[in-house]
Structure formats: C-alpha cells, structure tokens
Chain length 501, copies 2
C-alpha cells in the first residue's frame, strides 16, 4: 500500500505540473500576452485542462483511490494519509460525479450567459439576462443533485467552495452578523460627513504608487524570491507552482488606496500560499483549506492590519517619501480616518469593510432563494432593491447598480458569495487569537514589523495547507467554532471611535 | 482516409498546444520567473515534455502515419498532404528511432557535461572537459547509427537540424567559401585602422536603447499584436503558439549595437514565424524549413539590411532623436563604417559578418573530424588554434578563447554549427533574388520602408513554413541550388569599398 500511496503522490505531482503550465498561461494572458494571441491561448488552455481532466478522472485513478482509502482510514482520521486521501477523493468526486455532457452543457450556458450579462449590464436590462440566469439556476439544481446533499441543494454548491460548510451554519452566522452590523452602519450613515477621504484622491504618479506597493509587500515578508508583482486589469494571486506565487495589482492616479489595498489583499493571499508546508507541495494538501480561509488571510492583512492605526503610522512616512508635495503635510490621524471612511454604495467591490458583508448577506439570501424556488426570478430585482434599502439604506436606480453588477452567476457560480463573508468572520477570529498569543504585536506594525503576526499565521494557518478543514483549523488555532462576535466587536469598536457614537 | 487525416491534424494541434505551454514556461523562465522557482519549473517542463513525447511516440500514432503515408504519396509529391506526412513522419522517426534509455543516457551526459564545461571554461582547462566531450562524441556516433545514414554518421546528425542536407554538400560549399573569404579577410586585416567603431562605445541610456529597438521592430513590420519584445540575458525568439511570436534583446550601456542588432536579428527570425501561412498553423508544416533557413532570415535583416548604407541613413535620425548629445554630430558615413568594422576576434558570437563564417568552417572541420575519428580529441585544441591562425590570423592564448568557448557540444549537439553559415549563404541568395524582383527596394530602406522586401520574403519564404525543404525553397524562389557566390560577392563588394582594396 505504501507503494500505491507513492503512485498516488506521483500522479498528484504530475497534475500540479500541468496546473503550473495552465496557471502560467492564465497569468501571462492577464499581464503580457499580445492581444492577437487570445484565441490560440484559449485553445491551449482548453487542451491542457482536458489532458489534466482525463488523467484525474481515469478509471485507473479511481481504483487507486478506492484501494487506498481504507488503508488511510486505518492510519487514523488525524493522519496525513487520511487527509491526503480525503482531499484526493474529494477532487476526484467533484470531477467524476458530473457527467461530461453536463459539464459541457454548463460551460456552453456560461459562455452565452457571460456575453448576455455584459450586454444586459450595459443597458441595465435584467429581462434580457433573465433567461440565462434561469438556465444557470436550473443547472445548479441539477449539479446539486449530481453531487448529493443532505438538507438543501445549496449545501452541495457551498461545499464546492467551502468544504464541510452548510447553509444552516451560514444562515445562522449571517443572521447574527446582520443584527450586529446593520445598526452600526446606520450610526455611520447618520454621521456621513464625520470622515473625509479627499486626501486620497490627490493625483499621484502611478509608477511611484507601484514602487510603494512593492515596498509594502517586502515589509509584509512576501517572498520575492518565490514570486513577483505585476499590474493587470483586475488584481489577482496565482500559484504557478508552489515555489512561484505571483500577485498583481492595479493603479489609479486619482485614488491611491486602489493600489495599496489591492497589493496588501493579494499579498495576504500570497503569504498563505507561500507558507504552506513544503512537504505538502504538489500533493492534494498543497492548497488552501477553503476559499473562505483564503479570504480570511487577504482580508486580515488588507483591513485589520492595513487599515489599523499603527499601520497608518508606518505607512505615512513612506507616502511622504514618495509624494512629498502631496502628502507632506498630512497627519497620521488624517490618513487613518481617510482609509476608514465608510459609506453606502451600490457596488460590492467598492464597498468598505463595514458595508461589504451586507452586500454578501443580500446575495446569499437571493441566490439561495432562487435555487430553492422560494424566490422567483421575476421578483429577484425587487427583492435585491428592498434588501439594499433595508441593510444599506439606499435603493439602486438601475439593475446595473443592483442585481446585474456581479459576474459570478453568469459564470455559473451559485454558493460562492458566502465565502467572502466567512473569510471576514474568520479573519477577526484568527487575528484576535494571534493578538492574545503575541504580546505587543500591533506596536511592531508602527515600525513596519509584521513578522510576529506572520509567524503566528504561518504556524496556525498557512503551513497546514488543506490538511484540515476550515472549522478544524479554527479549533486547532484556539479560535473555537465559527463565531461572528470577534468581527462584530472589531467593527463596532473601531467605527464607534472613528465616527463618535 | 480523409477522416484519418483529420485525426492526424487534431493530434498535431494538440501537441502544438502542449508545445505552447512548454514555450511559455521557457520564455517566462528567461524573462519573469523569480529565482526560487527554478527547480519546480524544471520539473514542470520535464513533465510536459514527457507527456508530449508519450503522445507523439504512441504505437497508435505510428500506425496512423503508416496508414496515411501511401494515401498522401498518392496525392503526389508536391501535394500538401504529402508534405504533411513527410514532416509528421520525420518527427515521429526522430522520436522513436532513439530508444528511451539512450535518450535518458544522452540527457544525463549532457547535464554533467554542461556543469563540467562551465567549470572547465572558467579555468581554461580542456583536459577537464575532454572525458565529457569524448562521451558526447561517442553518443553522437551511436545516435547516427540509430537514425541511419548513407555516407557518414555526420549526415545523420546534420539532417536533424537541416533536413536533406549532407556533409558532402556542406564541405563543398564551405571549401568554396573559405577560398573566397580568407583572402578578403586578409585584406581587411592589413588595413585594420581604416575603420573605427569608437562612436558606438559612447555611453547611452539602456531604456532609451530598448525603446529605439521597439521602433526598429515596428519599422520592420514585426507584428506587436501577435508578439512582444522583452529583455533577457541572451536574446532569443520563441513561438508561444503561431499567434504569439516573442523576441528578446539585451542592452549594453557602452555598446549600442548589441541592442540594435540583436533586435533586428531576432526580428528577422520572428518575421519568418509570423509570416507562415495560417493554414499550416498547429500542423507539421507550421515550422521553418530548417535551422539554416531560419538563420537566413535573421542574418538577412541583421547584416544585409541592417548594416547597409540606406538602413544607416534611416537609423541615424532615430539615433539623434534619442541621443542628441551623443550622436548629434555623427554623419551617415561614420555610422555606416562603424557598424561594419571587421576585425579578427577569438569569440564566434562577437564576430563580424566577414569573419563569422570562418569560425563556423573551423568548427565544422573539427567536429566532423572528431565524429569520424580522423581527429583525436587530444589533438583538437591544437587543430583549433592552427585553423584560427590560418583563417583569421590569430592564435588563442587559452582554451576558453578557443575550443572551450561554445555551449553546443556540451549540450550534445554535433552537426548544428553548419546551419549558421548555411543561413548566411542562403540569406545572400534570397536577397539577390528579392532585389532583382523588386525595383528600387533599397531606396525604400532609407525612408524606413521595408515592406517590399518583406512582401517578397513572405511570398517566397515565410508563408511556406516547412512545406518545402530548404533546397526546394531556394529553387522555387528562383535562387537555384545552394550557391556561395552571392554571399562571397556581397562581402567582397561591400568590404573592398569600405576598406579600400
């Protein structure tokens, strides 16, 4: 059996290598590829994905897994071998449970839906997108049937992105979050002129912005020997093999936080990947525990660290050095308040850390309703707007500012949105625990020293890769089960001081 | 059979896609890859190469070729189908005729030889490298046996890089070239102070150098919509799929021709690849006719065009615009003479267009002698130095300036060197024919108009890909068989004027 286990690992290593090529084809597409190469690039990506899929769904591989599973279980549920088989089997099941013809059908639906969505968004025409959304919803119901679930089809979909998570758990956590955040946000809205972020709209050279973000990543101990930062249309992190974790950022001449916080956010994702135990590299344990866990790392760095007072204290002299004429006279207090201005906005991706989760709650409620048939698609835009009014106090005037704003559904992804807020919830749990364990941690931030925090995260989160599920990881790190309280308390404490309520 | 032919083409397209990924892994390694990713990258390259090799050598594929060959022959030797099968079969034979264990052995020898060569070169210690070279020579003899040949094992090796070429043909052409060039070069040596290139050593900003080379590539009609230029340690051209042909260049603050002529050289390679008939893309006809043919295009642009009087006339105002303080007062005559200074040098890659081929003749004579056993490895360094004295009039003081300078043998490549000079010979044949067909072609160069030349090359060389062998291509372009005379005449006419003899 040990020999078969080695064969399994050799297979997984081979597929990681193919994945490395696919990741590089994608990365290059976003950063360097000449425009005329798009069609040929898509073909190459398709070919490599097909080759990887054929290998990862072969009957021979399925048989290998079946043989190894009892052996791994025999090693104990806490053994590395068990985790390896659990994750390998999970990947295999996700691939083979969906018939090839169904996958093809979904892919065609999604291609057409993406085109229709782009058009519909331009003209704010939800009825034009509705038939495509209808198809996506129906296919997701069938997908859930193929994958299997206990309580609701939503569970099956959620499990794709957040293994082990259920709708019931999400619903409970989100309800609690709503009851905590909506009142805080109402207080903020009542004091909307208390905070100004106008200093951040001052024009600054984008090349210098980029160099500043390189400095920030260095301070965060992002490892440039095993990664690099480039610019792209949308910021992202990609693993081109375990020793090459790349990030991208964007720059906006008149909105410097775009570059700074995109870099910190992607840097947070990258630190997770760079911190995974090398023993897990190129195995089924070499990824993250879940999308939510991944997001907990990016959000922890972006918001809890990057928008903290000591971080701003460290950041200000860097800003002054790059842009003496622009930021020379700005105070720490001004910078801290500016990067923490909270206000209602229609668009999720532009939302601040207080209102962001309200955007997600709304999407969770709407997409689960559509999937389960308790919300008709005809009523969805109205439901969207009503919830916006209830949670954020504003009503979108057009569908492009409302239900048509996100790409996820046209991509066929239902059950993905909650991972963002699960990430925020977990980020505060991890951070609270780190702060308890590492005395004086935040004082270091003001000197640009983030090593103690990173050390804690490495030890309790990063190194484990996907050895443990998210819930286990929280428990093992001493955070207990998923808990909204630390995040809610963090938000209330921080913003009541800033806005004075 | 038409259906089987489509299967063949689908196979070839799939392998081109895998090749695209491999090319990108290589390109990225030279341009963007963080240093710590080297080991993982090598593994991914190895995995993808193995997957491609397994597919391209499968018994099923071999059977498909055997079935299709008689059918394609029935279409006539001039048919596209025949050419397709000829090239596909050639690739297949090159892969399957060498046993996997032998390929492995060669690869191990080469890895060790590369390491030993680098060390030996540093200390100019040929005896330290000799045992590795011995192994390489012996393995190349066996390789020739596996591949098969009529007259000499050298034929089998040459054929890998220059299909259809024989040592007899090379030897005859090279002997004639020697009798033409050695006396010309002696005349130049006798007037070594007649030409100065000192103006080219003036310090210039390397970013501006790079921008200048971008302008030059644009003027050459290199298609930036289907390619890009970057910087790398050594300049190269790579095809990341047929719609993405990338070049790289280098820059040297104190030697501006490095950037300019590397870009033009690689641009010449790239124009060939960009000009291949799209109908041949992702098939066995989508490459070049031979390495020599490829080199004929790079050399034609680099030397015959790029070092011509009208080109210098066009280049000078660009130089003045980028570097007014440095080149403001330089005349066309000064620039033209400077970029054409010819002088003996020990190192091939630094040689000018007159002496370059003498370096190649010498290597051809030495490597064929070693392979055929007429030259012992012990005598090789001495033979090298004697030929240097005879052809170039100088004697290397150390092996690193002599027999240890090139990487080719440690890579296991014997039979590769002649393709450089075959390229030079063909470049003059193609150019002479283009000039005859396109009246006033060179006058356009002075205005930065290279379209008529490119049009001729597209029509007679580029579009054909590997549909025709090099010799056929020459014939079809109206150049007759391989002929040294145009190149020899070009060199004699040009340099007798410059040096006054």
């Amino acid at each position: 059996m040990e020999k078969k286990y080695e064969i399994l690992k050799a297979n997984l290593a081979e597929w990681t290598d193919i994945g490395q090529a696919i990741s590089l084809l994608n990365w290059d597409q976003e950063t360097n590829m000449p425009p005329g190469a798009a069609q040929g690039r898509a073909q190459a990506q398709g070919t490599l994905s097909r080759i990887a899929h054929e290998k990862a769904t072969s009957a021979e591989y399925g048989k290998l897994l079946e043989e190894l599973l009892p052996w791994a279980e025999g090693k104990g549920r806490d053994s590395e071998e068990y985790a390896m088989l659990r994750e390998a089997k999970r990947g295999y099941d996700l691939s083979v449970k969906l018939p090839a013809s169904f996958v093809q059908e979904c892919s065609e639906t999604s291609s057409a839906a993406m085109v229709a969505w782009r058009e519909a968004k331009k003209s704010s025409d939800f009825p034009a997108f509705k038939p495509h959304l209808q198809k996506v919803v129906e296919q997701n119901r069938r997908k859930a049937q193929y994958l299997g679930f206990r309580e609701t089809p939503y569970d099956a979909l959620l499990d794709i992105y957040e293994p082990g998570m259920t709708k019931a758990t999400v619903a409970k956590a989100f309800a609690q979050l709503r009851s905590e955040i909506v009142p805080v946000f109402a207080e903020i809205r009542a004091r909307k002129d208390a905070v100004s972020n106008k200093i951040l709209t001052r024009s600054t050279d984008t090349d210098k912005q980029f160099r500043l973000t390189q400095d920030i990543l260095k301070a965060m101990d992002y490892d440039f020997n095993h990664g690099r930062q480039d610019r792209s249309t949308h910021p992202f992190t990609t693993s081109i093999g375990p020793a090459d974790i790349r990030v991208t950022t964007w720059t906006d001449k008149k909105w410097i936080p775009a570059a700074i916080y995109a870099s910190i956010h992607e840097g947070g994702h990258a630190l997770y990947e760079q911190g995974i135990d090398p023993a897990y590299h190129k195995t089924a344990l070499g990824g993250a525990a879940s999308l939510g866990t991944h997001e907990s790392q990016s959000r922890l760095w972006e918001n809890i660290v990057g928008r903290s007072e000591p971080f701003c204290k460290w950041l200000l002299p860097q800003l002054k050095a790059y842009f003496p004429a622009v930021y020379g006279k700005v105070t720490e207090e001004e910078l801290y308040r500016a990067v923490n201005k909270s206000e209602p906005s229609f668009i999720r991706v532009e939302a601040d850390e207080v209102s962001y989760n309200l955007h997600i709650l709304l999407r969770f409620e709407i997409e689960s309703g559509m999937l389960e048939g308790t919300l008709s698609l005809d009523d969805a835009p109205e439901a969207w707007n009503a919830k916006m009014k209830e949670y954020l106090g504003i009503t979108p005037k057009k569908a492009s500012d409302g239900i048509l704003q996100d790409v996820h559904w046209s991509m066929g992804a239902i059950g993905y949105f909650p991972t963002y807020t699960l990430g925020n919830i977990m980020s505060a749990q991890f951070y609270e625990q780190a702060k308890k364990s590492v005395p004086g941690m935040e004082d270091g931030f003001a000197r640009g020293d983030f090593k103690p925090l990173l050390g804690w995260l490495r030890q309790h989160v990063h190194r484990h890769g996907s050895r443990y599920r998210a819930a286990e990881l929280l428990e093992k790190a001493g955070c207990g089960p998923l808990d909204v309280k630390p995040f809610a308390a963090y938000i209330r404490n921080k913003y009541s001081k800033i806005y004075g309520f």
